[in-house]
Amino acid sequence: MFNPERNEMHGERNTLKSSKGTVLGLLLVCLAFVAVPTAAQAKPTITISGSTTVAPLATQLAKGYLKSKAGRNKVQFKILQGGSDIGVADVSRGRVTLGMSSRIPKPSDPGGIVFNEIAKDALCIATHESNKIAGMTQGQVQDVFSGAVRDWSDVPGSSKNGTVNVVIRTAASGTQDAFDKIYMAPKKTFSGASQKASNGLIEQQLERDPLAIGYLSLAFQKGVHILNYQGVPCNLRAAKSGQYPGTRPLFLVSRGALSGPAKRWVDWIRNNKQALNIAATAWVPFK
């Protein structure tokens, strides 16, 4: 009297319809503000995506620019995220105006893109607040992060006993790339390490896990213990003076040479006193 197969197909179709609806719904809810900002539509828009390290700086610089004489009522910004590799891929495909990157160019990057440095950031080694190790040498960092040392009792200065929980960033991260180059080369990070997609997630992990160790951008230091590296404290003063060896440049990546509103914004970031002051709050300004 009835055809179960037909009804099953009917059910599948419903599920398909609903999942289409889900995606549409998500897009509507989340992109509503990307699509319909309050400012006039005629203004040129600078769209940026990429590094979670650069994002807090870029959003503050965008706000500062919009409040300044140079940028007031002249431009608007759309901000997305995703990691340095995403930012580089997005800009090379023309999906965004500028990609945010916290790593230097890779040979595997697509051609035709330009890395425009806007500031520097210090990469700090951090542990749980209760694990107050004074500092580490490069050798010790390599031993812990490569998995050669697996117990806190073997780490000089640690009051903890138990397995070291190494927390690193995912492969798409510029911070991971910078850490590999600055701290680890030629060694590799431990394959059993827990991988996190953002600075915020590493910070959260270090806050809650007394046996964890990881690395963070200088701007993310709430509720964690920051270690000295090679005898130098990881703070803004040491980073600005150039003493701290774990600094890396932050970039806004463009497709070809900078032009138009994006060029004016990056020029403002690099030269305007107000912009340099914004960068100086938690990063090393361009100059």
């Binding site: 009297m1 059910g11 419903n14 809810v29 503000f33 990307v34 608007q76 915020g200």
Partner: protein, 251 residues
Amino acid sequence: MSELLNGKGEGFRLILLVFGLAVAIFGVASLISTSSAKADETTDPLVGINCTGKVEAITDSIFSDSFTYEFGCDKDISALTIVSNRELGSFSTEIIGVNAAGEPGVGQDFFCVGAVPSSGFGCYGNPGKTPATVITAGNKGIGEFSMFNPVCDANAQPMFWGIAQTVYSTTNDLDPLLPPVVRTWTATTEPFPLDVSAIECEVLNPKVKARQLKMKAKVMCSKVKKTKSKQARLVAKKKCDRARAAVPKAS
């Protein structure tokens, strides 16, 4: 054909039988499909999503006019939108779901996107991830934003609303003759207000108010010299002093 039409052939009876059966089958099938659709609708377990949240000032932020917000719902949330009657100057591009003890939930990180300046932004989990990223029921999503202008530079108290989205499935296995039909639904809350009691402005538009009070004091004080009688001058002077005292010192 003419044989069939005048009802003399067996083929005609056969066609009538097949046609009659077809009508009966389609009739019953449509009745079944209507009743199962009704069953689906009536078995939808979601009666609503209840969410709460609040906005508080960040006192130790290196950036001015910075605020933290948090929200929590009684269903798993797959996306969230924050809207305001103020223009926002920046927002944290990631928020993380934490439990009551403040510990982050695994796989509960949302990315946020939006325009700057604008009246809000949207945050979402990764729908392509398995399992999909959600902030689970009972956990709180926590993020930050900053105002484009000082929060009290407006004619109305600051207000914020959240709109949350949940994705859920229902299984219709009421009819034992049918295989269970799984349906995925998306539901969105009505805008729910975030508690802003911690950031309510004592004085709205303080600069404009101060300017108005200064002007008023100037007018009052100018009357002192113009008044002719001694008593009227004393009264005018008192009014002038009162008006001057009302002007905020910073202005």
